[in-house]
Amino acid sequence: MNQTISNQLSEEQLRRGKELSDKLISGLNMILLGKEDLVDMVTVGVLAEGHLLLEGLPGLGKTELIKGLALLTGLDTSRVQFTPDLLPGDITGNPILQEVDGQKVFVFQSGPVFTNLLLADEINRASPKTQSALLEAMQEKQVTVLGETHLIKKPFFVLATQNPIEQEGTYSLPEAQLDRFLFKLNVRQNSAATLEKIILSKEAGQRTEVKQVITPEDLDELMQMVDQVYLPEAVVSFIARLVDATNGGGETEAGKLIKFGASPRAALSFARAAKAKAILRGRPNASFEDVRELALPVLRHRIILDYQAKIAGETEDSVISKLLEELPATDKFLPPGVTQKK
């Protein structure tokens, strides 16, 4: 945070960062029509090197988006279709008894997790045991099997999709795993205009040619730029107060609707994502606006609402929105004789 002015991003770097990220965004927008916000967030998540959880009904293009991302970045990709009978070893890999030089030894056969971009499709269809197989890989970016640790190559992202938990045959992801996802992005239904576009393009036999727009090296460069983005003290304070408010700090009304709040990992995710967002916007610094835009995807899967809030029909998103309205950018209060101008 105590970044000096000398190692601040130059205009040139910022321009290049924006150019590269714009390429990625344009590519994704071509794959997924009418979901610009979602595409933005996915790009931010990739730049922040975070794992993403996409939730939505089947057929909304979640898998397409992730597959497209793999193509656009040229990253090594694996896809695992999570099913109830999937075992942890099916993800991490298994030691297989093999004959080597006339001796039978266990040789580790790496699983699909050893990749850059792991598409965990319908992750909540697998049992919790299998879901948990990803915990170590997501946090430490390594896999330990039979006491032997195997490093996963960088960058490593888990891009998971899940169906709404109300559906048949789903298992809720454990909180520990949810917390490891940088964002939880809701994939919503398309508008009629978008659907029209989709139908027309398919019926006309148009196939979207997806080509690699950035190299893994470019992506690495972008990630390094994220490190150099300046995070002002006031923004840090705002993030901290926001996360604290989910845990009842700051005496906000919305905070009282939350039973369990976000963890410190959420605050770190916030900071990282805000910086990535700044790169997308071509700015050398993160801002309050970035934090506010990121609040929903960062926090919605990290808070558990109080039963009274649920009875009152509140959702995670509505509570977070209220929290943002209540929480001023500065912790310095205005005098009691005035009201903040909205």
Partner: protein, 446 residues
């Protein structure tokens, strides 16, 4: 000036003015309620001064000004740590204008100042926060200043001078008019009296003041009596000298007496007036022969008049007091009352009680008509107390049938040394009534 500088100047000025506005809002918000309290207290102060009728505006103004300053100090103290800092204002502007923290970056020297934009209005005033307390306070102040009120009765009242001073004053005035006494004496006494009067009114009836008054009055009376006696004596001796002209021995004796009186007058504090004194000094057996009988008669009557005049003044003063302060009037009263422990009730004086009742030890005891030289049981049942009943007998007093010699009579067992007598006299009226009722009935009725 380039655009960058212009932008910088604009934003810096904007930050300053916004900060000032917020801090003003802080000050006014913090001041509103204490100010209402101040108005109410000021109203009470004003009301009080109007009520007591103090028309001097200096005192209430000073108190109200002090209260106001105290209120301001209180407000400033309570605002410690709440004042808006520059960085806070920058963040507010950044946020209000959605500048993506560009202003913060510019202030810290990391980015150029943003393009000029209209400064945001950070807050709206809450009228209901300020108006009710201020209106109530102001209303109280206006009412306190203009509402018609009945003034309080004066708390300070004039304390009446001690009576002795007035009497003393009158007497000195009289002496002045009669021109009988030397003026220096009168002036001196007036000065002493004035010194007593110049004390605070509250001290007039203090022990020391009354003691001094008592002393002054007594001393004056003593001097007056001395002079009256001396003048009377001089008049008598003059008469003797006149009648003893043919008898040198008697003449000489009377002249000596006359000279003694004259000497006494000269040495006393209160001297007769100079003219009279000179005339008296001029009297000698030789000069007496040269004076005509009319002249001698005139001088004699002058001396007698002076004596009478002084004696009259004395009497007049005592009647008013009624207290045993004048030895002459009491006769054998208080002059002897200070002797011995038996009757030791002390001399009359300030805060020492008034002394014995007048004539308490006089000879006005009721005669019981026993007329026997023997010890008698007291039969005056009206003066009995319940404790004395133990000594009662049914039988009549048994006087001795046979004379057994001379014995001291009138000896009482109870010498009335205070406590016992006081106790007897201190019965409650109901107790006294019960006692009277008890003894007024026949023995059979008891």
């Amino acid at each position: 000036m380039g655009d960058t500088d212009k932008n910088q100047l604009y934003w810096e000025k904007g930050i300053r003015s916004t900060r000032l506005k917020i801090n003003t809002a802080w000050f006014l918000s913090a001041l509103a309620r204490p100010l209402a309290g101040f108005f109410i207290i000021a109203a009470l102060v004003l009301f009080y001064f109007r009520w007591v009728g103090d028309l001097d505006w200096m005192r209430p103004s000073f108190i109200i000004a002090s209260l106001f300053i105290t209120t301001l100090i209180y407000v400033v103290v309570t605002l410690a740590g709440k004042w808006e800092g520059k960085q806070d204002t920058v963040v507010r502007i950044d946020d209000s204008l959605s500048l993506n923290n560009q202003l913060s970056m510019a202030v810290s020297g990391r980015a150029p100042f943003p393009e000029i934009k209209a400064l945001p209005k950070i807050y709206d005033w809450k009228a209901f926060y300020f108006l009710p307390p201020l209106l109530i306070g102001l209303l109280g102040l206006i009412l306190a200043a203009f509402i018609p009120i009945k003034k309080a009765p004066p708390t300070s009242f004039n304390i009446q001078e001690p009576l002795a001073w007035e009497e003393m004053e009158e007497e000195l005035e009289m002496l002045k008019e009669e021109e009988l006494v030397e003026e220096e004496y009168i002036a001196e006494k007036e000065k002493e009296l004035e010194a007593l009067k110049t004390q605070d009114q509250e001290d007039w009836y203090e022990h020391s003041s009354l003691e001094a008054t008592d002393h002054l009055v007594n001393q004056h009376k003593e001097e007056k009596n001395k002079l009256a006696d001396a003048l009377e004596n001089a008049a008598e001796q003059l008469e003797k000298m006149e009648s003893g002209k043919g008898n040198p021995g008697a003449l000489k004796s009377a002249f000596n007496e006359f000279q003694e009186s004259l000497k006494g007058m000269e040495n006393a504090q209160m001297k007769p007036n100079k003219e009279l004194l000179e005339q008296m000094k001029g009297i000698s057996p030789e000069s007496l022969k040269q004076l005509s009988p009319e002249e001698i008669e005139k001088l004699k009557s002058k001396l007698q008049e002076g004596s009478d005049s002084l004696s009259e003044g004395d009497g007049a003063g005592d009647d008013g007091e009624g207290a045993p302060q004048d030895g002459k009037k009491l006769g054998n009263g208080w002059e002897g009352s200070g002797e011995g422990e038996e009757q030791g009730s002390g001399e009359p004086g300030i805060n020492r009680g008034p002394g014995h009742d007048e004539l308490l030890y006089g000879d006005t005891h009721e005669r019981l008509n026993t007329e026997k030289d023997g010890g008698l049981e007291a039969q005056d049942l009206s003066d009995f107390t319940p404790g004395d009943l133990l000594e009662l007998q049914d039988a009549a007093p048994q006087a001795e049938e046979k004379f057994s010699g001379v014995r001291a009579s009138g000896i009482t067992e109870n010498q009335g040394r205070g406590g016992n007598r006081v106790w007897k006299q201190a019965l409650l009226p109901a107790e006294q009534e019960a006692l009277k009722f008890y003894f007024s009935n026949e023995p059979n009725d008891k």
